[in-house]
């Protein structure tokens, strides 16, 4: 029997809200699946769409981008800018066939440890069901094989 599929999920979060929320999940000793790797940024405003593509290149099956709720940004409006970028980039990803479940966006405040744990639980499950992001993995594999002609 082969090992059950364990998705690799990369989360890009702002340090003031979602990172703190993840810490709160920890101090509250909530349990969630170990599939997520967190990259800490100062603000969602700093999260570039390139990060998402590189996470996929490193074999991620899913990506989470998360920060402060609208109005709560430590930097006043970094998250409003981020939201516009996500709107455009998300539309682009879906138009090019990156399934909706592969890239998730959320607002998680420093107080929402429970929301963080539950979200990781649910997206891990969703991606586990969807299976590995094979179409992308195939492209990665091709870069390591000799030219076909």
């Amino acid at each position: 029997m082969s090992e059950p599929f364990e998705p690799k999920i990369v989360a890009f979060v702002c340090t003031y809200c979602t990172y703190a929320g993840a810490d709160l999940a920890g101090t509250s000793r909530l349990k969630y699946p170990p599939n997520v790797r967190i990259v800490r940024l100062p603000c969602t405003g700093r999260i570039s769409p390139m990060f998402i593509l590189k996470a996929f290149q490193k074999g991620a099956d899913g990506v989470l981008v998360s920060g402060c709720h609208p109005g709560d940004c430590h930097f006043d409006h970094g998250n409003y800018h981020a939201r516009r970028r996500w709107t455009a980039f998300n539309a682009l990803l879906q138009f090019t066939g990156v399934p909706e479940e592969r890239v998730k966006f959320s607002w998680i405040s420093a107080a929402e440890g429970i929301k963080f744990a539950e979200l990781i639980e649910s997206i891990t499950e969703e991606i586990r069901t969807a299976g590995p992001f094979e179409q992308y993995h195939k492209l990665i594999a091709e870069t390591g094989s000799a030219a076909s002609v």
Binding site: V10, T15, Y19, A20, A22, D23, A25, G26, T27, R29, L30, K31, Y32, P33, P34, R37, I38, V39, R40, L41, P42, C43, G45, R46, I47, S48, F51, K54, A55, K58, A60, H74, F75, D76, H77, G78, H81, A82, R85, A117
Partner: protein, 656 residues
């Protein structure tokens, strides 16, 4: 060549019980660029920190990773330890394997694998960290207080009394603000002016306070400790140095029928006037909009009678440039435009008043000398209806919030009325009575139980005039039946709203405001007097509706923040700031627009002869707060964020 030290903390059992720390150490030892990897029970302890320091010097480490609790916990601790060992503190990063690993996963093997990946990716990041130096900025020990109401005066006095220089700017001709208009104040019923006027005088006379009345903020540039502020001192047409405040000019002024702002339109004033008898400075100003000379070029009656020749019709606005270290915003509030409530007949029926107008009626210095009389015919009202929440808590009128002071002042109004008219009837339509505060509930109880204020729980639906009475129809929701009252006067507890131009001021200052125009604090609970812009603080009702004690408390809190700032020689800021690559910048100014702090300026690139080559973005290190929004916007990757550079993040992701 990188020589990274990795220090894996057991945190007692907190990490070691789940994560196989020995395995983590082994994995790190074999990782390229890692010079040493150690584990220890508590690295945050004194011996733990010592061992890190020893390793830094002993192995000549170029970077340190502490795999331990959240960076929010001990990043500062370990960075300081590194600095003490001679390593730039910004070459130390924390791998969070406790809050985000050992505490949240049940399976030890999986937790260990995750801990290895987390640590490895941060090793890759720290390899690309740069030495950063904290940014030092000098502090100008002069505060600007905007607004000369009770909050501004309090903040100014507190700062000045501690030795700080203050510039107090008030846009009206006199200090005082709304508090100067009030009759008596709840819950102690002391006379507002009696407690206010001495403060005004103290502020005006204080050697550390420079008072600029009839002045507005024109421009604010710079950053904490180093603001450059331009204030527009509007032309008064009265030379303050020559004027003695004798008042001859006011008596002679032929333009007498101007609705007085201070008395809320209940009395008239002249074109040359002092706003009220106790004004500070007590010197008149010419209202050029109403002055006959300014209107048709003839009159100058005031100039003729002035014994000191203080009247100068050629005076112009002056721009005053100030160097400022900290700013206290205390611009207060205004009373909501009652036109919103056509159903209450304000403006149509002269005896329907706002709460503030009632204050003027009840004030000993007011137009009636403190007698409660109807504006229409001067009769003493036998029945007064007070309508609470006339605007507040009404989303349909755009004001879903509670104005906080109305319950108390309505109780006070009723009380004052009953004190002055023992046979009078009061009917107060209310939604709830919100009387939280020291002595507040006792005060409203007193109004009801001792003074006979008649409270009716319900809303007023209609108001009309009939046989010289104001007919008020409402519902008594406790009895469940309609009520109709024939009143002689109606007082609306109108909502407290921000100053109509608060958003513009917010933009000038670079501070946030909410949908109504109240200024945003940095954190509602933990940083209620700071704004998100360092060095700018909020006092009083400009932040949210507040009563006098709250405003004064917040003003003093502001003063302590300002004084804490002034107690420092220099300011040190985290060097996490944006930097621009001028060689690749195309000057599209997207970053300038995206920056929440106006921290990005346009810089000319010139050749040796001084000719403009092109213009590029340039980050003002003092203003930049390090959010990185500009970095993401920049299509050419020209702008970058120290501490979270593109190279660092790339390596971190590729290390996962």
């Amino acid at each position: 060549m990188a020589k990274i030290g990795v220090f894996v903390c057991h945190c007692g059992e907190n990490i070691a019980a789940k994560v196989d720390c020995t395995k983590l150490v082994a994995a790190m030892e074999s990782h390229p660029g890692v010079a040493i990897a150690h584990e220890y029970k508590y690295f945050c302890s004194e011996p733990g920190q010592e061992s890190i320091k020893k390793a830094v010097t002993g192995h000549g480490l170029t970077g340190v990773i502490v795999a331990a609790c959240s960076p929010r916990m001990h990043e500062a601790t370990f960075r300081t330890a590194c600095a003490e060992a001679g390593l730039n503190p910004y070459l130390c990063e924390i791998a969070n394997i406790r809050e985000q690993c050992s505490w949240v996963h049940s399976d030890g093997e999986q937790a260990t694998r995750k801990a290895i990946e987390i640590t490895r990716s941060l090793v890759e990041k720290v390899k690309r960290n740069n030495e950063l130096q904290p940014i030092e900025v000098p502090v100008t020990r002069r505060a600007l207080v905007i607004g000369g109401g009770i909050a501004g005066i309090q903040a100014a006095l507190d700062i000045a009394n501690a030795g700080g220089d203050v510039v107090l700017v008030e846009r009206e001709a006199s200090l005082g603000g709304h508090m100067a208009q009030l009759s008596e104040t709840f819950p102690t019923l002391d006379c507002s002016q009696c407690i206010m006027t001495p403060r005004m005088v103290e502020a005006a006379r204080h050697p550390k306070i420079r008072l600029l009345t009839y002045s507005e903020i024109e421009k604010v540039e710079g950053f904490i400790g180093n603001f450059n502020v331009t204030v527009r001192q509007k032309a008064r047409y009265v030379d303050m140095n020559l004027c003695t405040g004798c008042g001859e000019c006011i008596i002679k002024c032929p333009a007498k029928k101007i609705s007085g702002e201070f008395d809320c339109g209940l009395a008239n004033r002249t074109a040359i006037y002092t706003p009220f008898a106790q004004a500070v400075p007590n010197k008149p100003v010419i209202d050029s909009g109403h002055c006959i000379y300014f209107k048709n070029g003839k009159c100058k009656a005031c100039q003729r009678v002035c014994p000191t020749g203080a009247i100068n019709f050629d005076m112009e606005d002056e721009l005053v440039e100030l160097e400022i270290g900290a700013i206290v915003v205390a611009t207060g509030f205004q009373v909501q435009n009652t036109a919103l409530y056509g159903e209450y007949g304000y403006g149509r029926y002269p005896d329907v008043l706002t709460g503030l107008q009632f204050e003027r009626l009840a004030s000993a210095s007011g137009p009636t000398g403190g007698k409660i009389q109807r504006p229409s015919d001067g009769k003493e009202p036998e029945t007064i209806v007070f309508i609470q929440c006339a605007g507040s808590r009404d989303p349909s009128k755009g004001i879903p919030y509670c104005s906080k002071i109305c319950c108390m002042y309505t109780a006070k109004h009723a009380m004052l009325y009953h004190h002055k008219n023992h046979d009078g009837n009061s009917r107060i339509f209310y939604m709830d009575i919100r009387a939280a505060g020291k002595g507040y509930d006792e005060f409203t109880r007193r109004a009801i139980e001792e003074d006979g204020a008649g409270y009716v729980r319900g809303r007023v639906s209609k108001l009309w005039q009939e046989n010289g009475k104001l007919m008020v129809r409402g519902a008594d929701t406790l009895l469940g039946r309609p009520v109709e009252v024939a009143a002689d006067m109606v007082v609306l507890a109108t909502a407290m709203v921000p100053q109509s131009d608060s958003k513009e001021l917010g933009k000038t200052l670079g501070i946030g405001y909410d949908e109504y125009g109240f200024f945003n604090e940095a954190h509602l609970k933990l940083r209620p007097v700071e704004t998100a812009t360092a060095g700018i603080f909020l006092a009083g009702a400009c932040q949210s509706p507040k009563d006098i004690p709250d405003s004064v408390a917040q003003a003093s809190a502001c003063a302590s923040k300002v004084l804490a700032l002034f107690s420092r020689e220099k300011l040190e800021r985290e060097p996490v700031i944006a930097q621009n690559n001028e060689a690749t910048c195309s000057g599209c100014w997207g970053c300038v627009l995206a920056c929440p702090y106006n921290a990005i300026e346009k810089k000319d690139l010139t050749d040796r002869a001084g000719n403009l080559i092109r213009r590029v973005a340039s980050v003002n290190a003092g203003l930049c707060q390090g959010c990185g929004t500009c970095v993401t916007f920049c299509r050419s990757n020209s702008i970058d964020l120290a501490g979270f550079t593109e190279k660092q993040i790339f390596a971190e992701v590729m290390g996962l």
